[in-house]
């Protein structure tokens, strides 16, 4: 264990996390606004924008995992339990909604929304398990 483990890990996390969030917001907002200006919307550009939106999300998940690995042991436990609960709640939601759709109880729901659901479940879980400082 090195001195300042927690603080340096948190610094490294914020140094990458916030630029990724800015890139994400710019690509999503700018991309959807830009596409509307084109008629018809070129499919290759739609695909490119979709992948460009995914890249910062994947980057964010990797940065969150790196933070969990680099931070102090208690925060790591809280983060990993947050990941676990986020995953459990999201997979449960996928199965529940999936079966409700298979048995024609509900209409189609965009699969996209399970992504934000994971982040919300992860955030709430870390808050409940470890308190504000660990989330």
């Amino acid at each position: 264990m090195t001195q300042q483990t927690f603080k340096s890990a948190k610094r490294r996390y914020h140094r990458v996390f916030w630029p990724l969030m800015i890139v994400y917001a710019l690509v999503v907002i700018g991309g959807s606004f830009g596409l509307k200006q084109l008629d018809p919307e070129p499919q290759w550009l739609q695909a490119l924008l979709a992948l460009a939106c995914t890249a910062p999300v994947i980057g964010t998940l990797l940065v969150m995992m790196r933070y969990a690995e680099e931070t102090d042991e208690y925060t790591r436990m809280v983060q990993l339990r947050g990941f676990a609960w986020g995953g459990i709640l999201t997979v449960n939601a996928i199965f529940t909604v999936g079966f409700l759709q298979l048995f024609h109880v509900i209409d189609k729901i965009e699969i996209f929304w399970f992504g934000p659901l994971f982040f919300i479940a992860y955030g709430l879980s870390t808050f409940v398990i470890g308190g504000r400082q660990c989330s």
């Binding site: 927690f6 931070t71 925060t75």
Partner: protein, 73 residues
């Protein structure tokens, strides 16, 4: 198994805040609070770091309740 400790007392004797102790150990203030309140048992390396900082042995700081109960029986 629950491990009790006297970190809060030792910290108070030195007039350190939880944040000050956390800084010296390289952990979060939340970690110190969780250890003090018994919500979290530290790993062996962290327990050694705490013992070194307070210039005491691990046994002087951490008390294994199970062992104490067994000894009393």
């Amino acid at each position: 198994m629950l491990v009790k400790n006297i970190i809060r007392t030792l910290r108070a004797e030195r007039g350190w805040s939880q944040a000050a102790l956390a800084d010296q150990l390289g952990v979060s203030r939340q970690s110190v609070n969780a250890i003090e309140t018994g919500k979290y048992d530290p790993s062996l390396p962290l327990a050694f770091a705490i013992a070194r900082l307070f210039e005491k042995s691990i046994e002087e700081i951490f008390d294994d309740e199970t062992e104490a109960q067994l000894a009393a029986q």
